[in-house]
């Protein structure tokens, strides 16, 4: 990531880190029980602990579940693949991207990796960057 990208890019969600090495997700990990969360926290949902540390989430994982969404609310482009990815023990939701949204192309258990893409620039020229998961062909075993 180059320096000028920090000025003109914004992550789509707060837990996507674009400026610290390769893009990756950062979770709040409970210091008491190790439960991980992606949202702003009050306390830990598992143990009510109050202290969290930021941890990098694995960028490679396996497809734990999915649905190919063909009907959605207004303004949501379809079809897309809604995915649940097991990233080395931390489950993450996102879209499966760079992959045909068809049952022939998507398999439970397939190897995937984090990838980013642009959602376009706003009127100030700031580009929003989102993450998804793409087939990890190097690891694909099927």
């Amino acid at each position: 990531m180059t320096n000028n990208s920090t000025a003109t890019q914004i992550p789509f969600v707060g837990y996507l880190e674009l400026n610290d090495g390769e893009p990756h997700l950062v979770a709040h990990e409970c210091r008491s029980c190790g439960a991980r969360f992606f949202d702003r926290r009050n306390l830990c949902a598992n143990c009510s602990g109050a202290e969290f540390k930021s941890v990098a989430v694995a960028t490679h994982g396996t497809l734990r579940s999915f649905s190919i969404v063909a009907f959605a609310g207004p303004g949501v482009e379809v079809p897309f693949v809604a995915a649940l990815v097991d990233c080395d023990g931390t489950t993450v939701r996102g879209n499966l991207i760079n992959c045909d949204p068809t049952p022939d192309a998507v398999h439970l258990g397939m190897a995937v990796r984090l990838a980013t893409y642009s959602l376009g620039a706003d009127s100030n020229g700031v580009e929003a960057i989102n993450y998804g998961f793409e087939p990890d062909l190097g690891k694909e075993t099927r």
Partner: protein, 402 residues
């Protein structure tokens, strides 16, 4: 009365589910209440507490507005809201009031006007021209539906079913459409179902795809409907007529749970753990086991959901839901008939009415009044609902021995 006071269903009714262009939610709720009172042989003057559910009416069919049409007796009214478990929550509220000894008779009612309502779920992805600005608990600069997976119900529950297959190393998604085939077939015998049409496996998989693997007939049917139940304490019931005692149905277990923390439960709603917990408590409370159940109405809001609840309710051994279905067990002539009403996929799912209508279906069989779709000799049944977010209601019901 004591905390161990028995609670019985004295009168219960559901309207036909379907389209009611000329009736509003208050009319539908009032019709169900009037019929439930008549079914129990009592009037509003006998009712000591009311619990009412109506999610999408913005208060239009509050308990107060229903009583304004059927009898403003001044009793306490609890307007309850628990997503698709709202009806079961209304029943649970009345059960608690009776068990607490505050009243000896109460009314639960749920109603929804849903016909013509499209896909329930969020939409919109924000307006980038206004400037990307982080908002909400995820610091998202736009709407997340469709950008971070799906928040719409058909896709959420599709993932619930697909995750089950993945967990147990299975890949054949055809079981989901075959579950739907069963429920649509069952509904042909239910005159109160919104849809009474049998559908073949091929018709189901070739229908409009909503969220793979769920096609349209594999999704719960949006429709209008209401259901109401009059509950009575065991000691009050003892003072009532032989006919009332004979038709009364015992609530052997009444359980409501919420979702306990599990890894990933804030990523994809976990509808499994709270159902397993509710079932465990319900079997303990009632002394009834899954093998004793003559019929089950479970929350098949999508075909992909029905599969996981075979397992969650202990109807099969862990991981064996697919083979349980393939054995024919949940068909109406099988070992454990599931959703002989047609289920939410064909009977319909007017949200707040659903948790009471499921109990009505069980009562109908236990009373031996289900006509052509009667499960012969039914003595024990279980009604289950899930509200996403999540809430789970389980009621175990037993035939009167009078």
């Amino acid at each position: 009365m004591s905390a161990s006071e028995e609670v019985w269903v004295l009168g219960i009714n559901m309207t036909k589910f379907g389209k009611y262009p000329d009736l509003d939610a208050v009319d539908l709720a009032a019709n169900a209440v009037i019929a439930a009172l008549a079914d129990g042989g009592v009037t509003m003057k006998d009712i000591g507490v009311v619990a009412a559910g109506n999610l999408l009416g913005n208060g239009a069919a509050s308990g107060q507005n229903v009583l304004k049409q059927v009898g403003q007796t001044g009793v306490p009214i609890y307007n309850v809201s628990n997503a698709c478990a709202t009806g079961a929550t209304a029943i649970r509220t009345v059960v608690m009031a009776i068990r607490a000894g505050e009243v000896d008779m109460g009314l639960a009612v749920g109603v929804e006007k849903l016909s013509g309502v499209g896909l329930l779920g969020p939409g919109g992805q924000g307006n980038k021209d206004a400037g990307w600005e982080p908002k909400g608990r995820y610091g998202a600069v736009g709407g997340i539906d469709g950008r971070l997976g799906t928040q719409a119900m058909p896709g959420v529950f599709a993932q619930v079913g697909m995750e089950y297959l993945h967990t147990y190393g299975q890949t054949d998604v055809s079981v989901f459409a075959r579950i739907s085939e069963k429920n649509h077939s069952h509904s042909t015998l239910n005159p109160l179902a919104a849809y009474n049409k049998a559908m073949t496996y091929d018709q189901i998989i070739n229908d409009v795809m909503i969220s793979y693997p769920n096609t349209r007939p594999m999704c719960s049917a949006n429709c209008d409907g209401a259901a109401a139940a009059v509950l009575v304490s065991g000691s009050k019931l003892k003072t009532m007529s032989l006919e009332q005692r004979r038709r009364a149905v015992k609530i052997s277990a009444s359980v409501l749970t919420s979702d306990p923390y599990q890894e990933a439960c804030q990523v994809l709603p976990d509808v499994n753990t709270l159902t397993r917990n509710a079932a465990k408590i319900a079997y303990e409370q009632s002394g009834v086991g899954p093998a004793d159940l003559d019929l089950v109405e479970l929350h098949d809001c999508f075909a992909t959901a029905e599969l996981v609840h075979y397992d969650n309710l202990g109807l099969c051994a862990p991981g064996e839901a697919v083979s349980f279905f393939e054995s024919g067990a949940p068909w109406r002539d099988g070992k454990t008939p599931v959703n002989v009403s047609g289920g939410l996929q064909s009977k319909g799912h007017p949200i707040s009415a659903t948790g009471i209508a499921n109990v009505w279906e069980i009562c109908h069989h236990l009373r031996g009044e289900a006509g052509p779709r009667q499960i012969e000799g039914a003595k024990v049944g279980l009604a289950h609902v899930i509200g996403l977010g999540s809430a789970c209601g389980v009621h175990v019901l037993e035939k009167s021995s009078v």
